[in-house]
């Protein structure tokens, strides 16, 4: 029998029992929509995370004591400013930027307005390497700031707005407490961060500011991390290992005392986690499709029984076993595919809402949509086979006699 005829027939049979058909599809709809939604959100998140890591700027890594491998971390393992200078002298080309990791937090007050600043210590021209700082007014921390350990600060636009009620606040001072001492910070720059998944998710109320690392650490301070922008045209892995082993030799400490972490490494770790996540989603999908398939089988068995007489009539009119088989198989497949299509649409809708809420661009996982639709058709085929065979094998006389 002609395929088109069968499809028309299936659609009219489904239409004749709208509510029942819809409930039957529900399993498939829920399964497919959750898979599409989660995989699209996953892909969107992955896209956003990769973009975020790119925005750190190429070649970003930090060198640190290998806390996991080192049994006892002693003072002489930590980095002094002189150690960093030695490293810089050894790799003048590769080390485009280095700074010890220095960090301070301070409650500040301007007039009656209070705020909390998270201050990151940087070396000169940090914004030339890190790509997520746009200077709006003034300038970034420069060489003279670092050498003079000046109490200059670059604050975000939001902080300027909050503390001073305006954006351009170059030259204003902010009373802060750094390392236990009261200091008047002079604003030399105002910046803005391009919107990203992290700024959206960042719920902390403090403002990220930049100061010369020398101003928020003592000159004889020892550091456990060195922030680095290495040569982004060369292998991050090779450079990281070279930095670590040079430092080990230079400071005469055991092997594996130092290690490095790069944005690349973290990205691949996140991607691994996301990979496991999609495996888990796959399992959920399989289960929900199984449940949906059983639902379809159940309703097709009911439908075959209800339509016993119709099957008898069709056979008496010349339908072959295969014609009946195809008719019911196609009906089951169409049920499943409509369910799959509805599920896909709903899934995309949920993903779009989710992506909008989190503020990332939606990335539709086209292959997962295709797989979902093909898969639901396969589910219909598989679970429709048993009822369809039952219908096809009916004895015409028995079927005609069925009340």
């Amino acid at each position: 029998m002609l395929l088109l005829e069968n499809i028309k027939l299936a659609i009219s049979a489904i239409k004749a029992n709208k509510m029942r058909s819809f409930l039957t599809m529900l399993g498939i709809i829920i399964g497919i929509s959750s898979v599409i939604a989660i995989s699209s959100i996953g892909a969107s998140a992955q896209g956003a995370v990769s973009k975020e890591f790119e925005s750190f700027g190429g070649g970003y890594m930090y060198l640190s004591v290998n806390w996991q491998q080192t049994e006892e971390v002693t003072q002489d393992m930590l980095f002094s400013v002189d150690d960093i200078d030695a490293l810089k002298a050894r790799f003048p080309e590769a080390l485009r930027y280095t700074a010890p990791y220095a960090y301070a937090k301070s409650d500040v007050k301007v007039g009656r307005t209070e705020a909390e600043l998270s201050i990151m210590g940087v070396a000169a021209d940090y914004n030339k390497f890190s790509t997520n700082i746009d200077i709006l007014h003034g300038r970034m921390i420069n060489k003279r700031d670092v050498e003079g350990a000046r109490d200059n600060v670059v604050i975000p636009r939001e902080a300027a707005d909050k503390l001073f009620g305006k954006e351009d606040v170059i030259g204003e001072t902010i009373a802060a407490t750094i390392m236990g001492n009261p200091v008047d910070l002079t604003v030399v720059g105002v910046y803005q961060i391009p919107a990203s998944i992290f700024t959206q998710l960042d719920t902390s109320s403090s403002y990220s500011c930049y100061m010369p690392y020398s101003a928020i650490s003592r000159s004889d301070e020892l550091f456990s991390y060195i922030e680095i922008f290495a040569d982004d045209n060369k292998s991050i892995e090779e450079q990281g290992n070279a930095f670590a082993s040079y430092m080990q030799r230079y400071k005469d400490v055991p092997e594996n005392t130092y290690t490095y972490e790069s944005a690349e490494q973290q990205l691949s770790q996140i991607n691994t986690v996301l990979g496991y996540l999609s495996l888990a989603i796959g399992a959920i999908a399989a289960i929900s499709l199984l449940v949906g398939g059983i639902g379809i089988m159940n309703i097709m068995l009911v439908s075959v029984t209800e339509r016993t007489r119709e099957i008898g009539i069709r056979k008496s009119l010349g339908a072959r076993t295969n014609d009946i088989l195809t008719q019911f198989l196609i009906e089951a497949m169409i049920l499943a595919v409509i369910g799959g299509a509805l599920g896909t649409a709903i899934g995309i809708g949920i993903a779009a809402i989710g992506a909008t809420l989190v503020g990332v661009d939606i990335v539709l996982n086209i292959s997962s949509i295709l797989i979902a639709v093909v898969f639901s058709a396969a589910v219909g085929l598989f679970f429709g086979l048993f009822p369809a065979r039952k219908a096809a094998k009916m004895d015409p006389i028995e079927a005609l006699r069925y009340e």
Binding site: M1, I313, S316, L317, G318, A319, T321, I397, L400
Partner: protein
Amino acid sequence: MKELIKMQGLEKMYVNGDIEVHALKDINLVVNAGEFISIMGPSGSGKSTLMNILGCLDRPSQGRYFLEDIDISEQSDNELSFIRNQKIGFVFQSFNLIPRTNALKNVELPMVYGKIPTAQRNARALALLENVGLADRYMHMPNELSGGQKQRVAIARALANNPPIILADEPTGNLDSKSSVEIMQIFTKLNREKGTTVIIVTHEPDIAEFTDRIISFKDGIVVEDRLTEVGKAPKKEAY
């Protein structure tokens, strides 16, 4: 005259566990092309069983059945489907139209299984409905038609592939006398004008009188086979 149907020593047994029903016993029957026959007999005498075998819906337990010289007992299920589709038109007591499917689609159905192209079967189904006086009802669903109308749609459907044989098991059993007469007139016209072989089962002697020959059954055996007044009339021989 051409032999259309030939049954030789045909038997049908139904076995249901311990119970064995001998529904047809040693049937020997010849039907020529163009005959118009009634099968009569008390309930349970084997009339429907015979019709089912004649219609290739069922197989005999023993004996042979030739339809147009084809030995039916040797045919596969698919071949039987093809024979039902091309050679036989069924009309049932309970109409057996496909529910929620309009008159036109019902009439088209045998042509769908016969792989007739859409446009052609559409036109033919309409023409068939017109012949039974239902051209204006082609869009109606079965539940929107009266019994007589349903049976006329069923006849149109039975004629879809222009089969040489029409088998009708108590076609007027669910109809009032006026509709019954209309249905019998359609069969008569079909038989007289197109030479289609028509075999009906009926309980009603006045319905049987429309036909040319009456075969009576009792307990699975043919007890009488005679011509009616119409059948004896010479005009029949002219055909």
